[in-house]
């Protein structure tokens, strides 16, 4: 294991240079003693080379897209073009302060304005706010808009948000954060929303419905129009979790097919790298009559000049982030869309769907595939059920063995409605030979379950560390280094 940076401390070493202070005032003249820190901050003294070696050493213990494949369902771990990183680092973007006057940031506002428009166009909504900085943040914003809508209409009796049991965990968590009650309904045996169960749970208190489409099983919710009709009949609103938008770009516009609000995940669909957890972007699109509830400001254009539009402040839900969202992430999405163009956009979705179906087809004799009557979209669910029943190998063991083969593991044990679930999403950027390598590895593992089960139970064996004890981590709770 790598030493921590604190163990590399050598008193007196420096990793920075700064010019001498050319103002002759002492700190004690500025800050009364009472407010001065009593004990110095303890940070390691290290040189720049120490620092670079340290972080390089850490980096070598990570998987990443440039190293290998991530068949990670619902996460859309596609390759992210390098030109994005070069261009966002322009001084004219990086070194802009959010309180600058509008006419000193016209280029920045133009990008944001155009991106609002392009995202609205491809999703079929009236306009898009770029303020939410993550998918869950978008959900929160969308649900706040649902609240604002009902308040505006005097719908004081609205209390509940409905979602299917295949929903992402963020959906119910966002519902609670906005003060609504959660109502979870069942999926049917085809993996789609159970309309009868929906009807049984709908009433005057229904404020809205959250649906991921394609859903987390990788299936297109084909009854979405009927669902929308049911929800709209009690004046509820339809929210689409757009985590899986990569599957349908250029093929379907959710705003034209029953949805009233939708979030995008820029770090999934629009080529912002995941960054070990973020930063991302979670813009949301809304239908025309909901525009007045969007967070302030929107970016607008008048007489050839771009400006921050606060004109709907009175009806707006307010702010969900201090400024204009993750600007640097928004630029990357803009560049990506401009480089794809209309045909490229559709091509992304097509190849994502083809890649997923290809793997599913090749694995169907080796792993239990619970929903294979219809073609999957960009991802599919395989299950380790056969391996568990026959050889008592858990899906967790299979996932860890996949790491040994040089791939990241799929999303496992989700969605919750499929036992021993493995959610596999290849994305469009992966080549056939990578998919074939992964398929072969999966088939090999299926064989190992039968022949050498102990290999799986001890996996991973070839990774920087062996299987990590997460119960010990909770029991001993060590969250900072003592030195």
């Amino acid at each position: 294991m790598a030493k921590t940076i604190f163990e590399k401390h050598s008193p007196g070493r420096k990793g920075y240079t700064l010019p001498a202070n050319d103002v002759d005032i002492s700190l004690s003249k500025c800050i009364p003693d009472k407010f001065q820190r009593k004990e110095e901050v303890k940070l390691p003294d290290v040189s720049e080379l120490d620092v670079m070696r340290h972080f390089l050493e850490l980096s070598h213990m990570n998987h990443c897209i440039e190293k290998g494949f991530y068949p990670l369902g619902s996460c859309t771990m596609k390759y992210n073009p390098k030109i994005n990183e070069t261009l966002v680092r322009d001084d004219g973007f990086m070194n802009l302060h959010p309180f600058q006057e509008e006419d000193t940031v016209q280029g920045a506002l133009e990008i944001l304005f155009e991106l609002q428009k392009d995202l609205a166009e491809i999703s079929g909504f009236a306009n898009v706010t770029l303020q939410p900085v993550a998918g869950a943040h978008g959900e929160f914003t969308g649900l706040k808009i649902i609240r604002a809508y009902h308040k505006f209409k005097g719908n004081t009796h609205k209390k509940k948000i409905i979602f299917p049991d295949s929903a992402h965990g963020t959906n119910p968590a966002s519902v609670i954060l906005t003060g609504y009650e959660v109502v979870e309904i069942k999926s049917n045996d085809k993996g789609l929303v159970d309309i009868d169960d929906l009807k049984a749970h709908i009433d005057d208190e229904t404020a809205g419905f959250m649906l991921t489409n394609p859903n987390t099983l990788g299936l297109f919710e084909s009854q979405v129009e009927e669902i929308a009709e049911i929800i709209h009949s009690v004046d509820g609103l339809m929210y689409m979790d757009g985590a899986n938008f990569n599957a349908i770009m250029g093929i379907v516009k959710p705003g034209e097919n029953g949805f009233d609000i939708m979030h995008f995940n820029l770090h999934k669909t629009f080529a912002t790298p995941h960054g070990g957890g973020g930063p991302g972007g979670g813009p949301i699109g809304v239908r025309e009559d909901l525009l007045k509830f969007l967070p302030v400001p929107m970016i607008d254009k008048k007489d050839g000049k771009f400006f921050l539009d606060y004109s709907h402040k009175e009806t707006s839900i307010g702010k969900v982030q201090s400024f204009f969202g993750n600007f640097a992430v928004n630029i990357k999405a803009y560049i990506y869309l401009k480089m794809l163009g209309p045909k490229g956009l559709r091509r992304v979705a097509e190849n994502a769907v083809i890649n997923a179906n290809y793997i599913q087809k090749k694995l169907e004799n080796h792993y239990y595939i619970p929903y294979k009557d219809i073609y999957c979209m960009h991802e599919f669910i395989a299950s380790g059920k056969w391996q568990k029943d026959k050889y008592r190998i858990k899906t967790l063991d299979i996932a860890k063995r996949i790491l040994d083969k040089g791939f990241h593991a799929p999303t496992i044990y989700f969605p919750l409605i499929v036992p021993e679930a493995m959610m596999i999403e290849p994305t469009e950027t992966e080549s056939k030979e990578t998919l074939d390598e992964f398929i072969n590895a999966m088939i090999e593992i299926a064989k190992e379950c039968e022949e050498t089960p102990e290999l799986l139970k001890n996996a991973p064996l070839n990774t920087p560390v062996k299987r990590v004890d997460d119960t010990l981590a909770v029991r001993q709770l060590n969250v900072k280094f003592e030195w």
């Binding site: 420096k14 920075y16 202070n21 620092v51 897209i65 940031v105 869950a136 003060g179 702010k319 190849n351």
Partner: protein, 446 residues
């Protein structure tokens, strides 16, 4: 086609293996009438060279704070960033890695978060830090939610001297869950302690104070703490500028329960206000109410030190509706930049940054107060930011100086304060930059 590896030939082979003739056959689950007949109305694709030209032209329409002499702050600051920081965060192993759920292939990410947590704890004097929030504002909002969960109280008392943008985001966050907001007005640029005393009671979940506050003034956190903790359950939340902590009291000195703040100043560019990151740290007894990810040290199967995400039962992917927050994606790479920054600067560098920022700010304030018609708005200690009263509207000054590429500060009129300018100074300002602002303000002297 850009960024897609497979050729048309390979695509055909795959379709054949799947057992269909053409792509459209795979769409049989989508109602026919949903299918778009026309491509989306987007511009035709740009090549890399073309998009580079386009984007560079757009960037050139902006005036950056490198090209101008900027005194803008208000939560986002132009501090120096060592070059090595960007080289570290651009490593693909960090940059394109997923959230570290698969610990065995994510030790790099996990260890840097653990080291980040350690440094945040060191700066704030707290016992546990999470792996970061969206920004300072959402961190403050989530801290209030934590306090409400812990105390089962639904009243949050907030000093009005807090950044008004934080207040707006906080309102968005707490409206739905029914927390009542009580704001305490200011007196001479600081929270009014007498009114605070009247408002804190046993029903109060928390008191939230920012120091240095929005106006740059250093609040008497010791006095606020005393008032807060007269109510047994009430938690003391403090929002701080991480750079200030190199010289100002550690929040543990005044017994803060939860510490939050905007982390951008630590090694992250201003980026027109995003991405930012919020830090959130607290004492251990509040650990289970924390939102977001936390990394813990543990052992692997060989008994060697390793790291993993811990206390995950708080999180949405496990607890769903019962989670402490809905946060999933955070701003991890910005936390890495902050860690790399703190590591490179060390305690001496961080202190030097804080000292230069504050002493230069004081020089500037002293000199501005000598210009006829200008004065310092509040007679109270401040850190690197201060408010001046202007003889004419602040907007007029801003617009006139813009032509000289000087951004003199933030017009406080938008927050309800006429003829006031909020001026921030960092270590990047040279004496000649300060003097340039001084000379240009003299034009407005009365």
């Amino acid at each position: 086609m850009p960024f897609i590896s497979n050729t048309d030939k390979e695509r055909k082979e795959m379709l054949k293996e799947i057992g269909v003739e053409k792509f459209e056959d795979l769409l049989n689950s989508i109602p026919k009438k949903f299918l778009l007949k026309e491509p989306c109305n987007l511009e035709e694709p740009y090549s890399e060279l073309e998009i580079t030209r386009k984007i560079s032209n757009l960037a050139a329409k902006n005036i950056s704070t490198e090209k101008a002499n900027s005194f803008l702050g208000g939560g986002i600051y132009d501090h120096f960033i060592p070059a090595a920081v960007d080289h570290i965060i651009l490593r693909p192993e960090f940059h394109s890695a997923y959230t570290p759920y698969q610990a065995e292939v994510s030790q790099g990410t996990l260890q840097y978060i653990y080291e980040y947590q350690t440094m945040i704890c060191e700066l704030t004097g707290m016992e546990i830090s999470n792996a970061g929030m969206y920004d300072g504002a959402s961190a403050a909002a989530e801290a209030i939610l934590m306090a409400s969960r812990k105390t089962k109280n639904f009243k949050a008392v907030i000093a009005e001297t807090i950044n008004p943008l934080y207040l707006e985001v906080i309102k968005s966050y707490i409206e739905g869950v029914g927390i009542e907001l009580v704001t305490i007005p200011k007196k001479k640029g600081l929270v009014d302690l007498d009114i605070l005393k009247q408002k804190v009671d046993d029903e109060t979940a928390c008191v939230l104070l920012q120091t240095p506050n929005f106006f740059g003034n250093i609040e008497d956190a010791f006095a606020v703490e005393e008032i807060t903790h007269t109510s047994k359950k009430t938690l003391f939340i403090v929002a701080v500028d991480p750079i200030s902590l190199a010289v100002l009291n550690s929040p543990s000195e005044y017994n803060a329960d939860i510490v939050v703040g905007e982390g951008q100043a630590l090694g992250n560019a201003q980026n027109y206000g995003g991405p930012l990151f919020g830090f959130l740290a607290c004492q251990l007894d509040l650990a289970r109410t924390l939102p977001g990810r936390i990394v813990g040290a543990t052992l692997d199967a060989d008994g060697k030190r390793a790291y993993c995400l811990t206390l995950q039962v708080r999180e949405q992917h496990i607890r769903r509706a019962k989670a402490t927050s809905n946060i999933c994606s955070n701003e991890s790479l910005c936390n890495l930049a902050a860690l790399a920054y703190m590591t490179l600067m060390g305690k001496d560098g961080l202190k030097e940054v804080a000292i230069q920022s504050t002493t230069k700010a004081h020089y500037l304030a002293d000199e501005i107060s000598k210009i006829n018609g200008f004065s310092i708005a509040f007679d109270t200690p401040f850190f690197k930011e201060f408010v001046i009263k202007t003889p004419i509207s602040a907007k007029e000054i801003i617009m006139k100086l813009k032509d000289k590429n000087i951004f003199p500060g933030i017009d406080l009129k938008q927050f309800g304060y006429e003829n006031m300018l909020l001026i921030a100074v960092t270590e990047k300002k040279r004496k000649c930059d300060l003097d340039e602002l001084l000379n240009s303000l003299k034009i407005f002297s009365r």
